[in-house]
């Protein structure tokens, strides 16, 4: 077959009873659970040790009651976006029901989708739980559910295992367990050792296993997606409140951001030691990358004596790293500096940054506006993802088409 579009970034919203139903008896009372938020009349997750509930806020843009938009009215549909007061019964059922999800992505002209966890909703809370055994059990419960979700339509859904941040041994064991369950990709919520700030030698066991299994390793946006205790608002002064809250919790938010993770991965030689590791930054967008690589290379070229790796940073990037974006006009225009083979499109459905049901239309339009050729559009809209996740397809017949990863 030939695909029209593969979304390299979609999300579930974990169903309210997921943890209560599935956690072992001794943890049943202590897992994440959903409460009513009294003022905004919505739902929120509460987790052991978190002082503020994580509201369902930006977890979706489209509600069952919303008038369905089209390309022309897209801008009006943004008024539906809510940062609070979202209820489970208002959301599209595909947030947790695979049958409904298959219909929803079909409406969006998407053939297959790489699925990630609900990021801000429960995950900060699970990661920061003091009881690591409870935390690990939550990861496992989620991964069991992901495997079932994927089994509904493995040709449509490529579900990520979310790997535990409770230590390298847990991480490796859960990787094996998830592979046995048929999951084909993983997302990291911390470095494999469990550190939120620094890569370490202990991680190498994990990178080696990922290479051995040919398993793509995703980081979705950052290690701490703002919600709950972190907050997610930009104040009336135009200042984000996340940083102050994180500081109070002792979390170094900057260290968990993808460009910093990437810097540490490249400069600590991970890609030199594991030249076939497939590392992805999802929902990290594109427009920042040309300057980042330019400066990274320049810092090396000017200070050769402090750089003992044989390749330049940009060379490791082009060989080992893929990046996924939603909407990014500047990045589409700068695609040759990033590498057409390193870019995947992923509209983030059903989160509030998505544009359902015109994600495909808008994604295509942006690449056309940037002057991308039909073969470039194919690569970014589905083919790079099909190669990454080993989905088979017939070779598209195209004049002047190119194959392989790396620079276009």
């Amino acid at each position: 077959m030939i695909y029209k579009a593969i979304s390299a970034d979609g999300h579930v919203n974990e169903p309210p009873n997921l943890f209560e139903d599935r956690l072992p008896a001794k943890f049943k009372e202590r897992g994440p659970r959903v409460i009513e938020t009294p003022n905004s009349k919505g739902h929120a997750w509460v987790m052991e040790g978190q002082s503020r509930p994580s509201v369902l806020g930006f977890a979706c843009m489209y509600f069952r009651s919303s008038k369905r938009g089209d390309r022309a009215s897209l801008i009006d549909t943004f008024k539906n976006i809510k940062d609070r007061g979202v209820r489970f019964e208002d959301m599209f059922e595909g947030s947790w029901d695979p049958a409904a999800r298959a219909r929803e992505i079909t409406d969006d002209q998407i053939d297959a989708e790489v699925i990630f966890n609900g990021v801000g909703t429960v995950w900060n809370g699970i990661k920061l739980m003091k009881d690591k055994e409870l935390s690990l059990a939550c990861f496992q419960v989620y991964n069991d559910w992901m495997a079932e979700f994927q089994d509904y339509a493995p040709e449509r859904f490529i579900c990520n295992a979310t790997l535990p941040s409770t230590g390298i041994d847990d991480c490796l064991r859960e990787l094996d367990r998830c592979v046995d369950m048929g999951l084909r990709t993983v997302q990291l919520e911390a470095y494999p050792s469990g550190s939120f700030t620094e890569p370490s030698a202990a991680d190498d066991r994990f990178w080696a296993a990922a290479v051995e299994l040919d398993m793509p390793v995703n980081v979705h946006t950052e290690f701490f997606f703002p919600a709950g205790d972190l907050g997610s608002k930009i104040t009336a002064d135009g200042v984000p409140d996340t940083k102050l809250r994180a500081k109070a919790l002792g979390i170094d938010l900057d260290a968990g951001k993808f460009p910093v993770i990437l810097y540490k991965m490249i400069s600590s030689g991970v890609f030199e030691r594991f030249p076939t590791l497939k590392f992805l930054g999802t929902e990290v967008h594109l427009g920042w990358i040309p300057y980042y690589l330019e400066k990274f290379d320049e810092s090396v070229l000017r200070n050769r004596q402090e750089w003992d790796l044989p390749l330049l940073p940009s060379e490791y990037f082009h060989r080992n790293v893929s990046v996924v974006y939603i909407v990014d006009e500047a990045g589409a225009a700068d695609r040759y500096d990033i590498g057409v083979g390193n870019i995947m499109w992923g509209p983030d459905f059903p989160h509030s940054s998505s544009n359902w049901p015109v994600d495909y239309e808008l994604g295509h339009e942006i690449l056309e506006r940037a002057g991308a050729t039909p073969s470039e559009i194919q690569r970014i809209m589905w083919r790079n993802a099909a190669d990454m996740y080993q989905l088979s397809y017939d070779e598209p017949v195209m004049v002047g088409s190119t194959t392989g990863r790396g620079n276009a």
Partner: protein
């Protein structure tokens, strides 16, 4: 090499190193024993304030981060005279093929002075520096464009020193490292300051960061090519309506390049367009997007930044200002001209001349450019988002 004979090179971000007697000779007698002083410790010459010190960078020995100096300055005698002597500076500019420079102080020293938190001392140091840099610039006002510092010791001090810089000392621009009224965000309380800036049309610089305890140069060991922290100061200015009330207020984001800015502008617009109905900041002029305010009122200094040069039409090509960073780490002295040529080699002649010198000459209204940007054809602002 291309013929650059017709192109005047003006650096929008260069530095001086404060001479040893700057503070000891100029501070009021009662503060003199607390004046910042030069000392040598661990074999490196350094500025010291209240027992805390900041080493002078190695590159003050030879002006180049590229040809690494064999060692840093052991004493002030090792520092290039061009960094504190105006006549020598002109010789260094000639050697470099640079016609003029906008001059900032040595950031490490001012981070120390600020960290004392002693208002009387800080204010006295700021005034001493402003007097000195005004004398330095007066040696050749068309080639030495010193900027004044605004003290962060209180709103009245800030307004008073701004007036003094502009009216008495004849400085062409000022540097802030806090909001004038010292609030956590810009607000109405700052208005009297912006009123003066607006009237005098002096560009206001932020050098890498803005805020109490933060550094004004990038720390070592962070990922390169990230958005500099000073960018976080920009949107609050828009949200506070400063540019609606004071349309001639102009900012220079110094030492931070602009290659990061296309993405930042696009995503600032995306966030605004999608989420403006939520309880976020509002814009007074609802016909404008935040990036349109930002691109109108902000200028960027660019050093080794091909990404910005390539994306100049999105950023505004009259808003990019080449800079040499002389003599800090990134500098290539005496080969800055070669670096500038390489950076702009793909540009049409006129655009190259703009980025390498004319834009900064217009911004600071240097001789021959008294009308600023008047009469310069503004290219239509490229739309960054298409919802």
């Amino acid at each position: 090499m291309l013929d650059m004979s017709g192109c005047r090179l003006i650096s929008a971000d260069s530095h001086v190193i404060e001479p040893p007697d700057l503070f000891s000779a100029r501070l009021p007698a009662k503060l003199r024993d607390r004046a910042p002083r030069l000392e040598t410790a661990s074999g490196v010459c350094r500025w010291s304030v209240d027992g805390v010190s900041a080493p002078l960078p190695d590159s003050v020995v030879n002006g180049s981060g590229w040809r690494r100096a064999p060692h840093g300055p052991r004493t002030f005698d090792d520092v290039l005279p061009a960094l504190y002597d105006a006549a020598q500076r002109l010789v260094a500019q000639d050697a470099d093929g640079v016609a003029a420079e906008v001059l900032y102080p040595f950031p490490g020293l001012w981070d120390l002075i600020r960290a004392t938190g002693e208002h009387e001392l800080i204010l006295a140091c700021v005034r001493a520096y402003n007097d000195w840099i005004a004398e330095f610039s007066a040696h050749r006002p068309d080639r030495l464009i010193g900027l004044g510092r605004i003290p962060m010791t209180g709103f009245d001090d800030a307004c008073e020193e701004l007036q003094r810089c502009v009216n008495d000392l004849g400085l062409r621009g000022v540097i802030i490292d806090a909001w004038p009224a010292l609030g956590p965000a810009p607000g109405r309380g700052d208005d009297r300051f912006w009123e003066v800036v607006n009237e005098a049309a002096v560009p206001v610089s932020i050098h890498y960061t803005l805020g109490g305890s933060s550094r004004s140069t990038p720390p070592a060991g962070i990922a390169p090519g990230l958005r500099p922290p000073m960018a976080d100061a920009a949107l609050p200015l828009v949200a506070a309506g400063i540019f609606d009330r004071f349309p001639d207020v102009r900012f220079v984001l110094a030492h931070g390049d602009a290659g990061w800015a296309t993405h930042w502008l696009e995503f600032t617009d995306i966030n605004y367009v999608r989420n403006r109905h939520l309880s976020q900041y509002q814009l007074e002029n609802s016909d404008l997007l935040p990036s349109e305010y930002l691109r109108r009122h902000f200028w960027f200094t660019v050093h080794q930044d091909r990404s910005a040069v390539r994306n100049r039409h999105k950023l505004g090509r009259t808003h990019l200002l080449w800079s040499s960073h002389f003599p800090l780490d990134g500098a290539d002295w005496p080969d800055d001209r070669r670096q500038a040529v390489r950076l702009t080699e793909e540009l049409p002649t006129e655009e190259r001349a703009d980025i390498l010198g004319k834009n900064v000459a217009r911004l600071y209204r240097l001789p021959g450019f008294e009308d600023g940007f008047a009469g310069v054809e503004e290219e239509p602002m490229a739309r960054l988002v298409h919802f």
